[in-house]
């Protein structure tokens, strides 16, 4: 019910925005959709896999940088490494962003999953920071300042520079990813994953290679984040190392928590609430963070199921 209502709202948002005469709303909600995509991918990791990764922002950043680098080489400089000429064709760039993020997730995941608990949290954080410093050092691509894209990617006959068309593309991707992940979560894969998160030894004693499932989950999450990154690069027409900073990982986690851990649809609500709060509170007071901090603490201590849990009334 809640999902249907939310879906309808998102579907008709540009119409509502037109009616209210507020074009900025479309842009704002596009951001919400993109962050929601990243948050849902993180929820898959944390809520189902029990993998608390403080380095998830790295995959968002990688997706964004793939987009940015390919754009850069297509329009500004010589081909990358002398052979790969850049492009702004979304049909090439976006799958590539997903693929590269997935590969990095595979590498980082296989190293990090040797550890667990607190060590896992910190090693994922450290890998993300390592990549952050790596991109800060890439002077050709702007280093610390980042680089601008002068236009969004091209996708077939559509004009992505039109905010409304871009909004619907992002909505499509979010919906597709949600369908995919909820099917995944309800399948045998999801069952094994949840079991492995609770008691890995028992899963392995049943003869199931639990670690492989966790790694697959990590890679899928990373791929989703990579797609979000590519879309974000398009939306803001700018990429910078800040997208890899651990504070973004933290923000994504906040969205997942606010929305409801393990609910997959919840993080969409969480992303919306977080970003909208950021927008509105910032208008009233410069120091809105001083309220957000304690609110967050209270939510963690008392309202564990998040907004989605409270509104939908489900046991998670």
């Amino acid at each position: 019910m809640l999902v249907a209502a939310g879906g309808l709202l998102l579907l008709f948002l540009p119409v509502i925005a037109d009616y209210l005469g507020d074009a900025y709303m479309v842009s704002l909600f596009t951001r919400v959709l993109i962050y929601a995509l990243a948050a849902v991918s993180l929820d898959l990791l944390i809520g189902y896999g029990g993998l608390v990764s403080l380095g998830h922002a790295a995959f968002v950043g990688i997706g964004a940088y793939v987009t940015g680098i390919l754009y850069f080489h297509g329009f500004e400089g010589e081909p990358l490494l002398g052979i790969i000429s850049g492009t702004d064709n979304a049909l090439i760039v976006w799958p590539l962003a997903v693929l590269v993020s997935a590969v990095f997730a595979l590498i980082i995941g296989s190293l990090s999953l040797r550890t667990s608990g607190m060590h896992f949290i910190m090693i994922t954080l450290a890998f993300a920071q390592m990549l952050y410093y790596f991109f800060v050092g890439l002077e050709t691509y702007g280093g610390d300042d980042g680089m601008s894209l002068y236009a969004r990617n091209r996708l077939g006959g559509l004009d992505l520079c039109d905010d409304r068309q871009f909004y619907y593309i992002c909505l499509c991707f979010l919906v597709l990813f949600l369908i995919f992940t909820s099917r995944l979560a309800a399948s045998r894969f999801g069952l094994v994953l949840r079991g492995a998160a609770v008691n890995m030894k028992r899963v392995r004693s049943l003869g199931i290679p639990g670690r492989r499932y966790k790694l697959t989950c990590f890679v899928i999450g990373g791929a989703g984040a990579g797609l979000a990154g590519a879309l974000l690069a398009n939306q803001t027409e700018y990429v910078s190392p800040a997208l890899l900073h651990w504070t973004l990982s933290g923000e994504l986690m906040v969205m997942v928590l606010l929305g409801g851990l393990g609910s997959l649809f919840g993080p969409v609500l969480g992303a919306a609430v977080y970003l909208l709060l950021e927008e509105t509170l910032a208008m009233y007071t410069e120091h809105w963070m001083v309220y957000l901090g304690p609110i967050l603490i209270l939510v963690v201590i008392f309202a564990k199921r998040g907004l989605y849990g409270v509104l939908a009334g489900r046991e998670l």
């Binding site: 060590h119 050092g137 120091h287 201590i301």
Partner: protein, 304 residues
């Protein structure tokens, strides 16, 4: 050669700062099993209070004591108000709640002290350089930091191996259920350990005051380094914190100083500097990854 010794001393000094941060945090991780992302905030609180009091009173030492005390007291309050509810929770909850604390503290300092960085003057008796070895001129203040750090390390060693409180802390790091079962007031112990940790962080912050700018968010950069130190050293182990801190301090400093020059041997100057600087920033994370692959629990894990 002189440059090398000088950089070694710089690395030692960074290592000492990291040790002060990580000794407390590793105990908090090890005994209370709580991930505390807000540890950097206490570093910041120590720096802010220390700087303000030092400027107001004109005395560096007063500022030092004030900063350290403030960090300790705020730490204990935070432990009682927030952290107590998180011990039984899973790590995600702890990450998020302490993340909330970071937001709060960063903003509060901005509200109280404004956005401009504070500057703390180095006290007159610590200014200037001295000649340690023929040709090696080194700032007095950094030597002061190194000495203070070593003293603190000695004090901690004395606390842990020769006092009852220290014995209980070590027991708690190894097996906290047993400690509780033996009738020790665990709640008080936790509060004291947390206060000790934040006190040390505050000390690191005050001492960093004259060298770095005191600003909101200064805790975050040192926090990540602290995490790396603890992961390398082993959670719950102060000995690990010492070794980890020195390793990280030396690798980071020597890397930044010498990697660009190493690369200059076979790359063009500007590229070498860029690659060298980048790799130097990444070096400690690479070190951490290498240690974790070899010893997943760190170099000296406290036995659990």
């Amino acid at each position: 050669m002189i440059l090398f010794v000088e950089q070694m001393l710089n690395g030692l000094q960074l290592g000492i700062t990291l040790f002060l941060m990580s000794a407390g945090l590793t105990l908090i991780f090890g005994i209370m099993q709580v991930i505390n992302l807000a540890h950097g905030s206490f570093y910041m609180i120590g720096a802010y209070v220390g700087a303000t009091v030092a400027v107001a009173s004109g005395s560096f030492l007063t500022g030092l004591i004030a900063g350290v005390t403030a960090a300790g007291i705020v730490g204990m309050i935070v432990e009682i108000v927030v952290l107590r509810h998180l011990y039984q929770r899973d790590h995600l909850d702890q990450v998020l709640a302490t993340f909330g604390l970071i937001f709060f503290f960063n903003e509060i300092t901005r509200m109280i002290w404004g956005k401009q960085p504070l500057f703390m003057d180095m006290p007159l008796w610590l200014q200037g350089n001295i000649e340690l070895l023929p040709g090696l001129i080194y700032p007095v203040y950094r030597i002061f930091v190194i000495i203070v750090g070593c003293l603190v390390a000695l004090l901690l060693w004395f606390l842990f191996s020769r006092t009852r409180l220290g014995m209980r802390i070590r027991a708690g790091a190894s097996n906290r259920e047993m400690v509780g079962a033996l009738g020790i007031n665990i709640k008080l112990l936790y509060t004291l350990v947390f206060g000790l940790g934040t006190l040390l962080a505050g000390l690191a912050g005050v001492m960093a005051g004259p060298i770095l700018a005191v600003e909101s968010g200064m805790g975050e950069s040192i926090l990540i380094l602290t995490f790396v130190v603890i992961v390398i050293g082993g959670i719950g182990s102060v000995r690990g914190a010492v070794v980890g801190a020195l390793l990280v301090g030396l690798v980071d400093t020597l890397g930044r100083a010498f990697l660009p020059q190493v690369f200059r041997l076979f790359l063009s100057s500007s590229v070498a500097d860029g690659v060298g600087a980048s790799l130097a920033s990444m070096s400690i994370y690479i070190l951490m990854a290498a240690v974790l692959i070899w010893k997943p629990k760190g170099l000296f894990p406290a036995h659990e």
